[in-house]
Structures are given as structure tokens and as C-alpha cells.
Symmetry: C2
């Protein structure tokens, strides 16, 4: 592992906006009109909003968002989905009180307000289209997110399997480590893994799940990932554990997957694939999966087609797109795969993210030293916003089990998952 | 209950086709060419085909399809999906050996052959479009199928709950009665029914599931059905059981459902709804379901969009259309319902249909006396063909559990289904 160079998110506007200087004075009538328009669009929002001069609107609930300068206010009004995150990261917007609770109330009020569409504010917004996913942009996007440095992720992911995906908490009070272990077992049971089987894994993260399958289920794994830093990490890890003979970590794109398998599994890759490539992914699976094999795709999703939050899509996860279940069917239907089982683990992801954020917060000093304050604030906002998104139902987590349409060796009940 | 008038399926061609008389003689060169073309299109079909003069092609496996006259051969070649069933019903096509096994091999060979498309035969076919589902045609279609007479269905459905939908066999060797009981409990557990809750049921058959919910789960039910004969039956049944106070059987279309409920359930109605009405069904549910309510739709489906077998769609189930899972999402996505759980019970339906057919076969004499020979053969073919369709994977059975996107009171695991 290499210690990554100090990185920022490329936010150039921290303390550098001319508007900020001007707004040391009082808010103008126009500023107050804009704040009032925005707050009117958020019915029963459950928080207050304050300008740089102390002007305050909204409800006194212990939650308060503060615009530190005029530029911050007007930029958020124009493009809130992207600029809120940037300005929060730069410290030009601050939130007093519980950040997750504020964001949950904000999301709910925005959803209610947009349904009503009574405010002119909704028509000011600029939204963005998701980017397409060519092989080159796929590599760039993945590099952006996953090559931040293994040391960074190790500060707040589980300490055993380095799982950067939704955990599974079948019992209350489980630790993150136990819940990630339970998630991996849940997936392995859904795939009915047996010793000697061949597994293909599309997108392997740091390799923790491949190791789990090889160690606990006696299978051999061929796993693909395009993040060079993760590939190096996974290979070294497998060698240390004496499992290198049974796991082949390939640095390549899922579209180049070759070979045959008894189980095809992908945990947390589909978010980076893009709907336009789902048919290609289906063809890859169609080429690989044995006649009686089972497959599982685990992915963040949505209740209806829609874009990822623009700030996350630009600053945190370039190219990310969580599909609706209907969109996911574009993987399976062209090849007439049979969908056997879909489980929605949305509230488990909210808990996973709460656990991650607690560790992240405990390590804030280290993270500030590794990167900078705006990076530390950006990732905290990302984690808090993700808790809120799963908790308010704007994001889902789908596990989809499938088989060839002609496979009659499928499990007839799911009781083996709960034995 | 009224004893239905003797009914036929409107097949006018039994022993009435002029071609039949002509074909008492030997098969011509053209007849043999056509048979050969058809059999070439069905690679490794695993059965033989014989003409009226003894000309035989294919494999000697104990399974043989026999064309009794020239007209039967040429009509099947032109429109096999519809005419095979009509001619089989009329006795002009016969099958020696196990009918289900023959149909399974036929379906598999047709699927393999059509993928290859090496035969001119595939281009001769006439397929049909499904009919649209206005309120009037919906009533006509349902009348056609369900008003055949309660006495008819009672001869071969389970004797306790009169369930004309897929049963659930969690253990081997279960009786049909036990499996239908298990299916109803499985659905009630998925809905987490509790005493005092209000349930709306869309499409209630003979009322057996509504009675089960009221009796065993202490809920009140408002249930809708447009088959007048089923409505009368259900009301009388509820009165006999002393449950009339807690179940309201309404003779009306699902689009006219009114009221509020803690659980919305529909078992075996969606097949008759038509994709063009899924958004309307979603709106009905959106109007009825409480903030923390759960819903379940149980329906025959397909791995990819496609039409119902043309003969079944014309002769047995007018207007029936089993959707793909992607098509089903047109119910849920417009209102941003959250899909929590999908289970595919395809092989359970194959077993249900085997159980139904065994009872049907045991009562063939009664059925012939109630209707006629062609009706008896048609329904036997329908049951046998349905076993084959579920067993070969051309039909699926989906149970989809859903909730409002903002409902956080949903079950977090499915372990309660298997406790």
C-alpha cells in the first residue's frame, strides 16, 4: 500500500468568493426575499435558516443552517443539489445540531415541496445528466473514488473484511464487523455456495468478500476490479492469508470477464455501470454462468428512475447511478434470466452508514491531517447525507438473486437463509 | 350456487372438416414434406410424430403425437399456438404417453428451434395481440372463465379454501389442502397481519383467502371481484362461517376500490389487468394504503415481456397477460412505492397444477357428463400445458411485497416468515 498524496476535492471557492467580502454587512431586501422564497418552498421543514447578519427564518427546533455570506445563499438557490455540498465543504454553509437529522428533514421537506410545486424556487434549479460509462471514463471514475488511499478507508470501514457496501444486521446491537460478516454469509447462502465451486466476482473492492468465500465456503474465485490500488491490496492480502492459490484477482473491466462459473456475484459495482451498459453486463453473465448456476447482484437503487444527487455524482462518486428495480431488469430480461428473489435492505444501509460515520468522526483529526478541512467536511456530509437518503427512502439497497430461465435446480424456499 | 348450463368451448370443427374425409387415404408428398419441415425445426425433440396413414418421423421414446387428418396437420403448421389446442380438444390430434412430458419436450424444442431459426416453419406462424382491458371486456373475460360453475372447480381445487392460485409447498409430500393453507399463511406473514387491521383484497376468487385472513388473523376485509357467481358463493360461505360481519364482498372492478387499509393484497388478479392498466392499479393502491401499510401482489409472470400462449388466451383465459417483473414495476414506480421483497414460486405452481390435474383426471367422467368430450380434453390440455410451462420456465410466479417509500416501519429481515 502506498500512502496517498494529500488531496482535496478541487473546491476552489473556500474563502475566495468576492461576494463574501461584500456580505460582511447586513442582508439586503433581495437576500431576505430569496431566503423567504426558499423557506416557503419547504413546508414544515423543522429547522431554521440564518443569514450572515443574523436574519433568521423557519422553526426554532435546535437545528439551524447558516449561510456565512451572500454568495453562498445565491449559489445554493440556483443549484442546491451541487452547491450545497461544495459550500458546506468550504465552511461557507454550516449546520448547527445533528447533521443527519437536518438532512432528513431537508429531504422530506424538499420532496413535499416539489410535489406541491407552489414555489418559484423549483423552477430555478439546474440539474445535471449522469455521465456515460465508456471503459476510459469508468477507469477515471473508479480511480477518483477508490484510489483515495487504503489508509483512508481503513479509518472507518470494518476492520476485518474492509467492506465498502451495505452490511446486514439480523439482530439488534451487532457490531459493524459482525454485520459485515453476516452480510457476506447472507450472500453466500443466497448463492448456495458449496466447496469446489467456481465463483466469478465483478467488482471486488479490497478483496474481503472473495477471501471470505474462499476461506469459509471452499470455493475458487476469479474476481475483477479496475482500481489498481485495490487490486494490489487484495493480492497482498490473499498471499498473507495463504489463499492466493484459490483467488485470482484480475485488474480488468467487467466487460472483459472470461471463463465459466457456478455462481456470479457482484456486490456494489452496479452503481458504477450505467443503465446503458446493463445489456452488456447481462451478456457477460450469460456467457459465464453454468446451466444450474446462481447469480446475485447487490446494488444501491431507487424506487423510480432518477439521478444521483448532483453533488455526490460530481464530487464523490463520478458516474454513479443507482437504478430502479425496473431498470435493473434490463440486465436480466433480454437473456430471460429468472429472477428468484429480491430483498430490499435499505434500513440496513442506513445503519451501516451510521456505524461508518461514528468511526469517521472519531478519526476526524487524522483525516484533516491526511487531506484538509474541506475534504473532511465533504466526506462527513456525504456519509451523513447517505444515512438520511436511506432513512427517508430516497435510496434503496437491492439484492437480486437470479438463474437461467431453464434452471430447475434452484432453491424452492428461502428457509435455508434463516436456519 | 346454480348448476351451469352445459357449455362447450365453441369449437365447431370436431369431425366436421372436409379435409378429414379426404385424408382417409395416404399422406401425400406435400404432407410428408410439411411434417419433415416441422420436425426439423424441433431439434432433439424427444418424441415421434405420426400421420393418419402411419407415416412417422422423429424419435421412438414412448411419446407420440398423432395427426388424425390432413387438415389437422396443415392447420397446426400455420398457427400452432392456437390450433394445436383446438385440434387436440376436438380429438383430431392425440398424444400417446405422458401429456405433460410431451408438452415439456415440445416447449423446450420450440424454444431451441426458434433461437436457431433455421427452419422456414417459424416464418409461417400467425401470432395474436392480447386484447385491451376496458371495464366491459374485463367483465366479459372474467365471466368466460370463472362463471363456468363452482361445481366444476370444486371437482379439482382444494376442498377447504377453493384456491385457484399457486399453492406453497415448504415441505415435501404436502397435500394440496395443506399447501394452500401454507400459501395463505405465507402471504399473511409477508403482510404482517395483526388483529383489528383493515385489509383490501383485489380479486377474491371464491372468498377462501378473505375467510382465512378474517378467521386466523382477526382482520376485517373488504374484497372486490367482478364475477357475479363467485360473489354469491363467497357471501353465502362467509354467512355460513359466521364471518359476514368482518368481510365485505363487493361486486365491482378493482378500479372502483374505495376506502383505506393497513394491507392491500391481490392474489391471482394481475394476470387479468393488462399492462396498460398498471398505472391505474398503482393509483388505486396509492389512494388506499395507509402510511405504514404493506401490500402484496401475487401473479403469474414471465422472465421477459411476451404474450400468453395464444390458445389459452383465446379459449381458456380471454385477456390474460402474465407480465415480466420489469412490467410489474409500472404499478409501483410512478408512485415511488418501495419494493421490499420479491419471491418466485414457479416450481410451486408446477406442483399445484400437478395436484389439480390428478384430481381433474380422477373426475373426468363427471366432467364429460357436465360438459362434453372436447371441453374435458381442452381443460386437461390447459392443466398439462401449464405444468409444462412452469416446469420449463416459460411462466413464473411472483409475490411482490411493497410499501410506501417513506414507510420505515417495514420488517428489516424476512426471518419471521420462517420462524
Amino acid at each position: 500500500m502506498t500512502r496517498p498524496a494529500n488531496r482535496s476535492l478541487g473546491l476552489s471557492d473556500r474563502r475566495s468568493d468576492g461576494a463574501q467580502g461584500q456580505s460582511r454587512g447586513g442582508a439586503s431586501a433581495a437576500d431576505r426575499w430569496l431566503l423567504s422564497t426558499m423557506m416557503d418552498a419547504l413546508p414544515r421543514c423543522g429547522f431554521a435558516a440564518m443569514l450572515w447578519d443574523g436574519t433568521t427564518l423557519g422553526e426554532q427546533t435546535g437545528l439551524r443552517v447558516i449561510f456565512r455570506d451572500r454568495g453562498a445563499l445565491w449559489q445554493v438557490a440556483r443549484n442546491p443539489l451541487v452547491r450545497f455540498g461544495d459550500l458546506y465543504s468550504a465552511g461557507r454553509i454550516e449546520v448547527e445540531g445533528d447533521l443527519v437529522l437536518f438532512l432528513e428533514r431537508l429531504y422530506r421537506a424538499m420532496a413535499a415541496g416539489r410535489r406541491g410545486r407552489r414555489s418559484a424556487w423549483w423552477w430555478l434549479w439546474q440539474d445535471q445528466r449522469p455521465r456515460a460509462g465508456s471503459l476510459t471514463t469508468a477507469r477515471e471514475n473508479i480511480h477518483h473514488h477508490y484510489n483515495l488511499g487504503n489508509d483512508f478507508y481503513r479509518l472507518w470501514l470494518d476492520g476485518e473484511a474492509m467492506q465498502y457496501t451495505c452490511a446486514y444486521y439480523p439482530a439488534p446491537g451487532m457490531t459493524l464487523e459482525a454485520a459485515q460478516h453476516a452480510k457476506m454469509d447472507h450472500v453466500c447462502r443466497k448463492l448456495r455456495l458449496r466447496p469446489g465451486q467456481r465463483v466469478i466476482e465483478a467488482g471486488f473492492g479490497w478483496g474481503g468478500f472473495a477471501l471470505h468465500m474462499a476461506r469459509h465456503y471452499g470455493v475458487s474465485v476469479r474476481a475483477y476490479n479496475i482500481s489498481s490500488e485495490q487490486v494490489r491490496y487484495a493480492r497482498a492480502w490473499a498471499a498473507r492469508e495463504g489463499l492466493a492459490e484459490r483467488i485470482e484477482f484480475v485488474e480488468d473491466d467487467y466487460r472483459n470477464i472470461r471463463g465459466h462459473c457456478d455462481a456470479f456475484v457482484s456486490v456494489g459495482m452496479l452503481e458504477h455501470v450505467g443503465v446503458e451498459n446493463y445489456a452488456a453486463l447481462g451478456n457477460v453473465i450469460g456467457r459465464c454462468l453454468s446451466a444450474n448456476g446462481l447469480g446475485l447482484i447487490h446494488s444501491i437503487g431507487r424506487n423510480a428512475p432518477g439521478r444521483m444527487n448532483g453533488w455526490i455524482e460530481r464530487r464523490i462518486f463520478p458516474g454513479a447511478y443507482p437504478p430502479s428495480l425496473g431498470e435493473m431488469m434490463q440486465i436480466f430480461e433480454p437473456l430471460r434470466f429468472s429472477v428468484l428473489d429480491v430483498e430490499n435492505l435499505r434500513l440496513h444501509y442506513a445503519q451501516t452508514l451510521r456505524d461508518w460515520r461514528a468511526r469517521y468522526t472519531a478519526n476526524l483529526g487524522t483525516i484533516r491531517a491526511m487531506y484538509d478541512e474541506s475534504f473532511a467536511r465533504a466526506w462527513d456530509l456525504y456519509l451523513a447525507g447517505s444515512v438520511a437518503a436511506f432513512n427517508t427512502g430516497s435510496l434503496q439497497l437491492y439484492q437480486v438473486v437470479f438463474a437461467r430461465g431453464t434452471n430447475n435446480a434452484v432453491p424452492t424456499t428461502r428457509s435455508h437463509l434463516y436456519a
